[in-house]
Symmetry: C2
Subunit: 684 residues, 2 copies
């Protein structure tokens, strides 16, 4: 729930007011207007006829800057209006820099970006200074988000570290905070202006209004990179920092402390932003003086250590704005900027064409549309530690939606190894999921489970796209391709690794190891601790082979009779509709994304494994058991709609045609199997 | 998905531009400024230094009004800025009138209101002209929404009908459209200005900017009610309408036709709004000319008959804005207006106090907070016909969340009578629910099932609040208090009505009729068509009495052994933890809202029935069967958290204290029962 920021040395309130959000720096030396300087700090002349202004940049007096109470801020005189700085031309690109490291800050950046994108009307160029984790998460996110008129550049924080690592610093994140000092160096020399944002802010207005202040305070600017460079910023802050360190040898410095010290030495560098651009919730009275006066809040800064739980009589107001964007469906921000030329997003044009070519009258229209949908993907939504490299390690791969969350704890108990799980969620559900994990000691304890959020879009469950996301993020050489309703034998993880080693899977042998599947129809059920116990439960009718009653063909080739007695792995032959759960090398074929909703999604994958001549080897001690659940809505839909089934038949035929194209004559057997009448469309 | 509007005669595009959204009417006669009139239509002088304006009220030329292309609209010259009309003072109340009738339009109004409230910064006074259905829905909604600084007044459309019913009109909704003609008459004489909105518009900006145009066009105004009345509007439109009818005897008139005709006769009445205030999606080219120029879209008008499916190369942009508010969590709009005195909402102050008095360290804090939560309620979310009055009719009452939607079809097959169902949903889920019902022939065919949406808020399932909403909306003299996971015997509805009549329930006898409950643990299961069949299934172990394995106490007093043989209703005695499913008169006690999440919610209700001396009569031919489902997350939480269970114990004790207070010594037996050690906290 709470955006997590780094702990921060809360220097003087007045300086935080300047810098907590936005660096408003600019040397006089190079073009400042001292006349204007003297004119403005007391506030502009009041325009008596102006009842309320769209933009009210009030410049606090020096006293206010130091946090002293002032008549100007507190007098509730609402008729004061500054002249409106003109907004930038509609197609002008605004530059924004953000420093971001780690899983939690990456989540914060998403919410910040949603609020920024919701109100913005200009093209944006984001300059993200990131560590490897944030680079990977945000890279995938922005790539799949496909927001028009947003360019993203990444800068490697690792490379900048030498510039600041000499500064004593206690916190991991503190080092990333210090990165702001080197932005003039890190960002391209051609870039003259940039707005620097902390990750814990929420916009309540168009960032163009903030950008406009660059012009308004001519010579007094928001991170005017060009002028800072001219003024020798690099030398300036380093000298100051070294000097401060001489007198404070025992403490560590946060970025804020250094900014404060530099500004103290060079007061002309700084101009205050109107307070509405940095409404901080840590200081109750000062903030309230600002917004009750201003009526138009621009930016909220969650800089209290209590974050959303901050006590403030208007806390609900701020929380609601934050929650608005936390739960906001980010795909709705795929809005173009009218009338500006925009660089086409990679792949977006082909996608648009493919979508445009779809025939709305085609009964499979919805299926084809779903297949073409690019879902936003937030990989490793929660903190995750990649498993150490081990040659025979296996990752359990599965996908789920909200209604299967309650499976996760049991799954963690049954599978002590790494997992890569794709979750199909709305933005709001992703937050519920976060709370669910935080509230569960079992789940919080596991750092080797990677949760990848794929955001919902469309009416059909994109089962194979989800599987492919989870599969692509698996980091071990082998994967166990499972489903979320199955609990593996407690020993399976160890047994699989031993089997992989023994069978020399991957290196010597191109094979898929089959894990025989069973099912129980009971909610309360004592999980068998061995194959012998499982066979007993089978004999007493407490367990069945999977889909024994409804669809035995799906697992018939596994040959359960042989399995009962088997002591060593045995090879089985592919047959129509076979869909076992298998262990394969991570580089196995992907799932075919055309199968959405329910039906045939695993069958097609196994067929492709067979076409690529994977041996199918059944493991004699492996088993996994399906737990009961109410039929999903998609399944009900499949069962009740003949269109749905007809469509699935059409997709199957197209899949076969593609298979023939890829594998030639050897794929003929699949077509023959398809044409047998008993091989009808069905659900898993 | 699609907002439904009424079919509309699409008069001249130019006039729709004026009137589709907002009536911009004002007679010259009374204070108009002809000089200004002549000066402005060509557009104001251009301000060369102004790159982009926050507000660009461009007044189209006459040619543009007629839909002709014009250099002014199409030249993409973005530097033109009109002088900004000052916004109204921040605490000025803005008046908005909306005509709304029926279930579907009431839903549309909610989305419109969300977009309006999201951007507004002024107090609002809504003037809603409604039929009885919309009055009831919107009355409940606004009462429970509790948005500060929003006053709502209702006006009975029925009373206004005689004013317009003489106009030939083909459509039910058309009559409501005509209501706009009589707004100057219907609204209070003291009201001088009002903005009139169709239900199918979405705001993309602060309505204060629209209100500001009242001032900008001095003498040329948005529904200046005062001046319209002065000018004799009533007579004016009626005369015109009669005259038009003489020449068009065969057709019917929509409001738009009459407005068009009046304006043709009195062109001075009208002033065009800047086109950004009415971006219509029916006319592609004209609208695009407007918004690609304006960059700041203010209002989108979904006036194409295709609504959201409209073909427009920017359709995604508009759809996304609409969907933003469709799925927006309305509770986040409970934001106060800073610095304005506001009338306290009824009950809001006590609620605030009660919430403020809660102790955050209390382990039951979350429970107590949930109990005090006022959920937004949208009664009869879908079209509904109240059942005809029948003296022994019974409504099935139940509550559910998204994960039980798949029960609805089966329930409809088992219960052919009226139902009142409370659904606990997010705003986004409410839309999914709508599609689910529309896609189901079984559900769409039923007009006697009332769905009441209670919007989610908080982490604990407010089971008893939901039951009370469904119970309060039941319209028959009797109710069957069921749960969503149960399917009643096919004959139950008829049998209950016959039993009620026979037993003279309610009039002669204060009793609760017990419907014995059973359960199956199997997904596929052939529902018994008679008591005899049910007994067979019991004997073969396909069915059990409800919670036979986990919690037999819950239904033990029903005495299933006696029931097997019973031919006539028999009386049973209350015992601790008894929680049968019962049929009672509609005026039975409400459920105690302190029980949230899971546990003890029905037990407490049955205890209260017993305290009020309801006889408990078991019906010999009645039965209902619980279907299996995966344990809900709340239940898992109950089972795993000792705090949760401790808290439930505390709530039970408080309930008993209250019971003793209400019923005196006779309630002692409940306390004794509670203190028996076996009566522990448990889940239903």
């Amino acid at each position: 729930m709470l955006p997590r920021g780094r702990p921060r040395a809360l220097g003087a309130a007045a300086l935080l007011l300047l810098l907590g959000l936005t660096l408003l720096l600019g040397p006089f030396l190079s073009g400042g207007d001292p006349e204007r300087e003297r004119r403005e700090p007391g506030g502009p002349a009041r325009a008596p006829g102006c009842a309320r202004c769209l933009l009210t940049p009030r410049v606090p007096s020096d006293g206010q800057l130091r946090g002293e109470p002032s008549a100007g801020l507190g007098d509730h005189n609402r008729s004061a209006c500054a002249p409106q700085p003109p907004l930038p031309p509609k197609c002008e690109v605004l530059h924004v820099a953000i420093v971001c490291a780690g899983h939690n800050s990456s989540r914060d950046v998403v919410t910040l970006m949603k609020s920024l994108l919701f109100y913005r009307k200009n093209p944006l160029h984001l300059h993200l200074v990131t560590d490897a984790v944030a680079r990977s998460i945000l890279g995938t996110l922005f790539h799949t988000w496909m927001v028009p008129s947003v360019l993203v550049s990444f800068y490697d924080a690792q490379e900048l570290k030498p510039q600041i690592s000499w500064i004593p610093n206690k916190h991991y994140s503190g080092l990333y905070g210090l990165m702001k000092l080197v932005l003039p160096l890190a960002l391209p020399p051609s870039l003259a202006r940039v707005i620097v944002l902390d990750t814990d802010v929420t916009f309540a207005s168009d960032i163009a209004e903030l950008w406009a202040l660059f012009a308004h305070f001519s010579g007094v600017i928001l991170l005017r990179l060009d002028r800072l460079r001219q003024a020798g910023w690099e030398q300036m802050w380093k000298l100051t920092a070294r000097r401060v360190l001489l007198t404070l040898p025992a403490t560590s410095l946060a970025d804020q402390d250094i900014f404060n010290a530099v500004i103290k030495e060079h007061p002309g560098l700084v101009r205050a932003l109107p307070c509405v651009w940095n409404v901080q919730l840590s200081d109750h009275t000062l903030a309230e003086g600002c917004y009750s006066e201003a009526s138009d809040l621009k930016v909220i800064h969650w800089n209290s250590p209590k974050k959303l739980r901050v006590k403030n009589k208007h806390a609900d107001f701020f929380r609601n704005l934050y929650l608005t964007f936390l739960g906001y469906d980010g795909k709705l921000l795929r809005r173009e900027i009218f009338g500006c030329p925009s660089q086409p997003l990679p792949g977006a044009e082909q996608l648009q064409q493919a979508l445009a070519q779809l025939d709305e009258e085609d009964p499979c229209f919805e299926f084809r549309q779903q297949q073409l949908t690019v879902h936003r993907v937030h990989i490793t939504f929660l903190p995750h530690e990649p498993p150490p490299p081990r040659p025979h390690d296996v990752t359990l791969v599965a996908q789920l939606s909200m209604d299967r969350l309650q499976m996760l704890e049991a799954l963690c108990r049954h599978w002590p190894g790494p997992m890569s799980l794709a979750l199909y969620l709305t933005d709001a559900e992703a937050q519920q999921f976060l709370h669910f994990v935080e509230a569960s000691p079992v789940l919080s304890a596991r750092q080797d489970v990677a949760y990848h959020v794929v955001y919902r879009d469309g009416s059909l469950y994109p089962v194979n796209q989800l599987r492919n996301v989870a599969l692509a993020q698996a980091l071990t050489p082998y994967v166990f391709l499972s489903d979320i309703d199955f609990l593996p034998a407690y020993s399976l993880y160890d047994y699989l690794r031993a089997s992989i080693e023994q069978l020399e899977l991957g290196s010597r042998r191109k094979a898929a190891l089959v894990v025989p599947a069973f099912e129980t129809l009971r909610y309360r059920f004592s999980f068998p601790s061995s194959k012998a116990e499982l066979l007993d439960l089978l004999d007493t009718g407490t367990l069945y082979t999977f889909r024994y009653h409804e669809w035995p063909r799906g697992h018939a080739p596994t040959d359960y009779t042989r399995w009962r007695e088997a002591q060593v792995p045995y090879r089985v032959q592919w047959a129509a509709d076979y869909e076992p759960y298998v262990v394969v090398p991570r580089d196995c074929p992907r799932y075919d994304p055309r199968f959405v909703g329910f039906g045939w999604n695993k069958v097609a994958h196994i067929m492709e494994l067979d076409a690529q001549e994977y041996e199918l080897l059944v493991l004699p001690e492996a088993f996994t058991i399906h737990l009961p659940h109410a039929p999903s809505l998609d399944l009900s839909r499949f069962r009740s709609s003949s269109d749905y089934r007809a469509c699935l038949r059409a997709l199957k035929e197209e899949f076969h045609q593609d298979l023939s194209r890829s594998y030639g004559a050897s794929a003929l057997k699949y077509l023959t199997a398809l044409q047998q009448p008993q091989s009808q469309a069905r659900a898993p």
